[in-house]
Each structure stands twice: as structure tokens, then as C-alpha cells.
């Protein structure tokens, strides 16, 4: 009989103005993988950060291995064998793999660091986990997915008995995901307890034993995992039934809005030709590193291009920079919402107004507050952005609402083509649907919609036409109705050049 190794009861946590956790209970048994599910803002990250000592709790009790812990600190958590792999990479880029693994617990002989020993140990850890990396490589030289593997190796090297993984697969390739799952299965056999947070519900069936579902800072339910009960799980997460995960709308295909001819921009964008018509959504699929983001940035003028002609509604437009692109009516909702899409410290109103100041300013360059407020209100209404008022920081909104602000600022100026890069990354199930509905609305209005996504189901579910890229080139194109995941993957891995 597996015993509880973690018992959190009636946990309360308040941040200024927000009750993040309201009487939440959570139990973990040894040797099991427990999925912690919930929408963004449900409190999952907060809960595990309390368990790992990053935040102090405001109320409730925590018991680990049978003894109550009054005040959990990161130090104590480590002593107890609790390790957490965070969602955002926490690597010191200038330090090597081994140095990162041993950060905070360096081995020394007296005052002097035992570098050779640590390198050797790190090499051993990596080998055992089947990770092919040089421990003396500076982490900053590694790809994001490799960095995440280092993060995992670091947590595991601390002989964790309780491992918390927050979105561990978001940056991994499918081979690495398989490697990770193999490691997880091994840890289960060793009686490790694992808390697994992920929005990628399709992955759960490979490793999950039980699920705990949270919503709005409250504990909803806990049950054994069963793939067949997925809809029930989702409805618990969301508090209502999601009738359709991918609302598809069919429209009549109209005129050609956008034509890109022979776009070349560095080694990631090679000879791109594509077309976009009214009444269709085009999805761009491919693996990480295929050049999709680079292509969108080259179209949008964010990166310089070597060659390439862009035709909008039949007329050629010259785009040398982002300003040209915006004036022409081609806009981009970037991949990293918080970093590139919004000014998180500015208010929602400021963000919506920012690219539209030319319209909102009077003759002397003074911003008309009245016009600004009108634009903000209209945008918030039409996109149904949930907020207390438009003066709050854009950074305080949930992922889905943030995305709406990112898009909203473009819609306020009647854009012709909206390009989305990973539109629903880090957004929960219900908000995803709202974004899809938004894309459909644009499609219905005759605005061109082009989107890049790494989530295959999303690409298959929402696009009318799918373009697949690999290593900087377009390798395939097909109607969504004829496409399958395997076909997309085949084109996505069609490399035409060996890396020397």
C-alpha cells in the first residue's frame, strides 16, 4: 500500500488583492505520478512553490514523510528531498552544465572548489539519464531543449524523493519527451513521488496515475486517471462543459489578400512563397527551429530580409521595418507574449493605444484621452477581455486576456493580415477556445489569418490550409481536411541538408 508522502491541508495563500489559494488540499503517494491540472490562474504554480519553499504559506499545514513542517524554506525542501523543475528555465547562461548542476551546493576541499570531481559527477549524472551533453559546455551555448534537460538533471541529481515538474515538456523535442518519460517511469519504480503540471493533456496518458484538479484557487477534485474520462476532467478544470475544443467555421474563400514571393532572410528563411486568401485560416506547422517564427518576423519587417516581395491585395508593398508593415496593414502577435507582445508594466489602455497613437493624437502631438478611452472600451468589449478596469498593468492579466490585448491593439487600426505566432501557448483550455473564436471572427470579416503553432491538434483543428516548414523551407502544403499528424510530421522532418 502506497503511503502519502506529502499531505497539504487547507493551504491558504494571499497576494496583495488576490486570494491565490483558498483552503487547498493536496496528497501525493510514493511511487505515483500525480497530474496537477487547472486553468492558468488556478493556483497550481503557487501551490507547488509553497511545497518547495519558494513562497511561505499563510495558512494550513504541510506534512512531508509523516512529519509536519512549520516553515518550509528552499533549504529545508532540499533537505527533505523535494526538488522542483520550474516552467521558466533557471540556468546561469555563463556557467557550465556541471556548474549549474552543482549551483548552491558546490563540492569543496576546504576553500577550494573540487572542479574535476564535480565535472566527473555531472558527466555520470548525465550519462545515467541518457542525456548527451558535455558537462563543461557553457549552458548559454545549448539549445533551449537541452537546457531544460540540464534543469531536469539538476533536480534529479539532488536525490529527490519528491519531484515537482512544472510544464517540463514545453521546450522539448519528441525524442527528449520520450527520454523524460522513461526517466519518470524509472523514478516511479524507485518510489519517487512526482507532481506533474502540464497543459498538454494528450501527454498525460503515458505516465499519469492520478489527477488533482484546481480551479480559481480551490481544490475541486482528485481521481484516478482514465483517458476515457478526459472530457469530465476538462469540465472540472473549466467549471463547464467545453462542447467543442476546436470550433471550426467554414467560410467562402475569397480574393487573394497576401502573396509572398521568394522571401529569403538568413539561413532560417529560404525561398518562401506563400499565399493567403480571404475567408481562410492558414496554419504553419513544423518543428522547433524550422524557421517559422523567423519567417513571420521577416514578413512583418522585424528582421531584415535579403530578397522577397510582398503583395497586399494585388499591390506590392515595400516593408523595410515594422513601421512599414503596420502602415501596410500586416501585423504580428509574437511568440513571447510577455516579452515582445506587451509592455507589461504599462496599463491595458496604454498598450492598446501604443501602435495607434498616430490616430489618437491631435495636431500638436497631444494624445486625445477621449479617443483613447473610446478605443480601449471598444476593443475590450468586442474581444470580451476580462478585466477590472483598463488602468491595471497588462502584466497582471491572465495569459488568454493578455493575448487578446496583443491582438486588440492591432484590430483597433483595421489591419488586413494578422499573423499569430503560437497564439495559445501557455493558455488554458477555455481561453484557447476564445482565441480560436477570435481567429474565426477575423476570418469571417475577411481579414487574413496566418498562424504558427507547434501544437498539432490545434493546427489540424483550426486551419483551413496547412503549410509545413522544415529547416527554413516550405516542404509541404495541404488542405486541413486531408491532413493527418503523421503526414505533417513527415514533411516537418524532411531535411534537405545535413548539418556539417
Amino acid at each position: 500500500m502506497q503511503e502519502d508522502i506529502v499531505r497539504m491541508q487547507k493551504i491558504v495563500k494571499t497576494f496583495p488583492g488576490v486570494k491565490a489559494l483558498d483552503d487547498v488540499s493536496f496528497y501525493l503517494k510514493s511511487g505515483e505520478v500525480m497530474a496537477l491540472l487547472g486553468e492558468n490562474g488556478a493556483g497550481k504554480s503557487t501551490l507547488v512553490k509553497i511545497l518547495s519553499g519558494v513562497y511561505p504559506k499563510d495558512g494550513g499545514t504541510i506534512e512531508v514523510f509523516g512529519s509536519e513542517i512549520r516553515e518550509m524554506t528552499t533549504q529545508k525542501a532540499r533537505e527533505l528531498g523535494i526538488a522542483i523543475i520550474h516552467q521558466e528555465l533557471n540556468m546561469c547562461q555563463h556557467l557550465t552544465v556541471a556548474e549549474n548542476i552543482f549551483l548552491g551546493r558546490e563540492r569543496t576541499r576546504g576553500l577550494v572548489l573540487s572542479e574535476k570531481e564535480m565535472n566527473k559527477e555531472a558527466a555520470g549524472i548525465l550519462r545515467r539519464l541518457n542525456i548527451d551533453l558535455d558537462p563543461e559546455e557553457p549552458v548559454g551555448n545549448l539549445a533551449v531543449s537541452k537546457q531544460q534537460m540540464v534543469e531536469i538533471a539538476k533536480a534529479l541529481s539532488m536525490n529527490a524523493r519528491i519531484l515537482i515538474m512544472d510544464e517540463p515538456t514545453s521546450a522539448l523535442t519528441s525524442k527528449e519527451i520520450n527520454d523524460l518519460f522513461t526517466i519518470i517511469k524509472k523514478l516511479k519504480k524507485e518510489s519517487c513521488g512526482i507532481v506533474y503540471i502540464s497543459h498538454r493533456l494528450e501527454e498525460l496518458k503515458h505516465i499519469i496515475d492520478r489527477v488533482t484538479i484546481m480551479r480559481d484557487g480551490r481544490f475541486i477534485t482528485s481521481m484516478n486517471f482514465d483517458q476515457k474520462r478526459m472530457e469530465e476532467i476538462i469540465s472540472h478544470m473549466v467549471g463547464r462543459e467545453i462542447k467543442q475544443k476546436f470550433p471550426r467555421v467554414s467560410c467562402r474563400k475569397g480574393e487573394r489578400i497576401l502573396e509572398i514571393r521568394n522571401l529569403n532572410a538568413g539561413r532560417m528563411v529560404r525561398g518562401i512563397n506563400l499565399e493567403l486568401y480571404e475567408g481562410e485560416i492558414v496554419g504553419i506547422a513544423g518543428l522547433m527551429g524550422a524557421g517559422r517564427t523567423e519567417t513571420t518576423r521577416a514578413i512583418f519587417g522585424a528582421d531584415p530580409k535579403e530578397t522577397g516581395q510582398i503583395f497586399l491585395d494585388g499591390k506590392e508593398v515595400t516593408i523595410h521595418n515594422v513601421e512599414d508593415s503596420i502602415k501596410a496593414g500586416i501585423v504580428l502577435a509574437p511568440e513571447d507574449r510577455k516579452k515582445d507582445g506587451l509592455c507589461t508594466k504599462l496599463s491595458i489602455r496604454d498598450n492598446i493605444a501604443l501602435p495607434n497613437l498616430d490616430v489618437l493624437c491631435g495636431k500638436l502631438g497631444i494624445v486625445s484621452r477621449k479617443k483613447e478611452r473610446k478605443m480601449t472600451d471598444e476593443t475590450v468589449d468586442s474581444l470580451k477581455i476580462k478585466l477590472a478596469n483598463a488602468e491595471v498593468d497588462a502584466g497582471s492579466l491572465s495569459g488568454g486576456n493578455q493575448q487578446k490585448v496583443v491582438v486588440g491593439k492591432w484590430l483597433a487600426r483595421n489591419s488586413r493580415v494578422v499573423i499569430f505566432d503560437e497564439p495559445t501557448r501557455g493558455i488554458d483550455v477555455a481561453a484557447k477556445v476564445e482565441i480560436y473564436n477570435l481567429m474565426n471572427e477575423l476570418k469571417k470579416k475577411g481579414i487574413g489569418v496566418l498562424f504558427v503553432s507547434s501544437e498539432m491538434p490545434e493546427v489540424l483543428g483550426i486551419s483551413d490550409r496547412i503549410i509545413i516548414m522544415c529547416d527554413g523551407k516550405i516542404t509541404g502544403e495541404m488542405a486541413a481536411t486531408e491532413a493527418t499528424q503523421d503526414q505533417i510530421l513527415k514533411f516537418a522532418t524532411q531535411f534537405d541538408r545535413k548539418i556539417s
Binding site: 520550474h86 547562461q93 549551483l103 548559454g140 518543428l287 522547433m288 527551429g289
Partner: protein, 344 residues
Amino acid sequence: MNSKRQSWFKRLFAVRGMGQVVTVGVGLIVMCVVFGIINPTFFSGKNVANLLRQIAPILLIGIGQSYVLITGNIDLSIGSVVGMSCMISATMMTKGLNPWTAVLLTLMCCLIVGAVNGLLVAKCKLPPFIATLGTMTIARGVAQIVNNNYNTDAIGDGAKGFRDFFYYGKVAGVYNTVIIAIVLWLVFNFLLSKTRTGRHIYAIGSNIEASKLSGVNIVATTTKAYLVSSVSSCVVGLVICATSGMGTMDAGNAYEMYAVAASVIGGVSTLGGQGILIGTVIGASIWGVLQNGLQFAGAPVAIRNIVIGAIVVISVLIDVIVRSGKFGKKNKVENQVLDQEALS
């Protein structure tokens, strides 16, 4: 290609700034040769000895600033602490205090500044620019008030041992000042490259969040860096006091910028997490040679300032352009393409 062990030669030129050190090292040699050609007395034993003695204080403050820069912060109070150290020690000695007692007390005062800097930045979370700007102003004020807003009188004959130790004395033909600088460099280099504290200093400069989550004591580490800085500033102040035999209130003026220049030329990044102290040696040497050479060539002080200021700006500019691209998005995506090999 990630798992292959690189030859020692390649690894020497890895991230840790050796590439820049070698480049500026070559630049230093070229500079010396050029100045030597212009005026062959540049290479005379007398000039070399003096040159090294001029470089020594720059190296010391360079070490202090390098420590702080590597943590991702900056220390603007260096110059004022130099002045404060000079004035406090001189004033105490003119009042009849034993020079070595004066040195001890001066050291304690400077350590206080270092500790305050560390706490303001790490504990109170003030931006380092603002925090050290504040301590800079206060320290300069202390330097002025310590002798009632006057430069001090001569520190007297009782201080001969002190003056010899810090400035006039020689050992085996090498000035004491140089030896002090070398010894301190050895100590601080060891601390930075071989101890846990040193590792943590690089870590918090590289990623302070990651360090915090890994249990690194941010306050302690930041404060240690600022303490090293104020200790080196203290020593330089004592050297100046020994040199002139009195305390001058504006000693050390603008030294913090020279310290930044020496550090950045030598490969320390103002963005944190990067740089090695051997580079600071080269940076300080280039600085010293430039000063010495321009002096020899008869350039007025104003020209020297302009040249030096321009070099500071250019070095930091190069630093920012090169560094922020190095671990930026561009490289990561290229690496991801290499990653796809695993799938095909």
C-alpha cells in the same frame, strides 16, 4: 558535437573571456612598442619601474570594480572611498596617531562603506547605480569633513615607515606598491576562480533568479563583492596618502570610471557573469601605459581625459554589442536546428 571534449587550446578560448584577454594583450604589446619607438626612454629601467607603480593602483581599483561588475552591479563609490581613505588616514596621522593604527581604522571605515553598498543593493534592492551614487557622495563628504574641509598637513616623520611601505620602498628593484598589487591580485584571483564564493559571484551576475532558487545567498555574495571593492579602494587611498605625504580631499576623483575602463577593456562585461581578473591586469596596464605614454608625449591633461573617456565608451559599447548577441535568441535558434538531427 556537444559531447566531444575540446582540446585544451580550444577550451582556453571558451566563454570565460580569454579571447578578449589575448586580443587586448596583443594590443598592449603593440602600444608599448609604438610608445617605445616614439621615445626609447620608455623602456628604461626607471620608466618601467615607475610605470608599474602607476599601474598598480589602477589594477587594485580595477579588481574591486571587476568583482562588482561580474555580479551584475556597479560601484560608483570607488573614487570617493579612495579619497575618504586618504583623508582619514592622513588626518589621524597628523593628529599623532600611530600610522598602522590609522591604517586599521581607515580600513574599518572603508569596510563599512562596502557593507552599506552591499546591503542597499541586495537587501533593500536599490539599483546599484543609485545606491553607490549615494554612498559616493556621502564618502566624499566624509573625506571633506574629516579635517574640517581642509587638506591635511604633512603626515610627519613618524610616518616614514608607512610611506615607504606603500609607495617609496622597493624589494629587489620592484616598488612595494607593485608587490602589494600583485599579492592582492593573487589573493582575489584565487578567491574568484577557485572558491565557492567566486562561483556564486559569477552565478548571480549570470542569473540572479536561478541563483536564488538554487540556494545561493544573494545578500552575502553581493556584499562580499562590494567589500572587495572598498578594500581595494582603501589600499589605493593609503598609497596616495603615502605618495604625497598628506591627505587631499579630492583624491581618487573619477577613479570609479577608470576602474570600469580597466575592467571592461580586460573583458569583464557590464552585463554581469563574465570576465577574468587577468584581463583586468591587461586593462589596467593599457590604461597605465596610455597615461604614461601620453604624459611622455607631452599631451595636456584635457587631451588625456578625452582619450581616456573615449576609450571607456568604446569598450563598453563593444562589450554590450558582443555580449548581448552571444547568448541571445539568434544563437539559440541556430542550435535548435542542429538539435533536429536527433529526430531525422
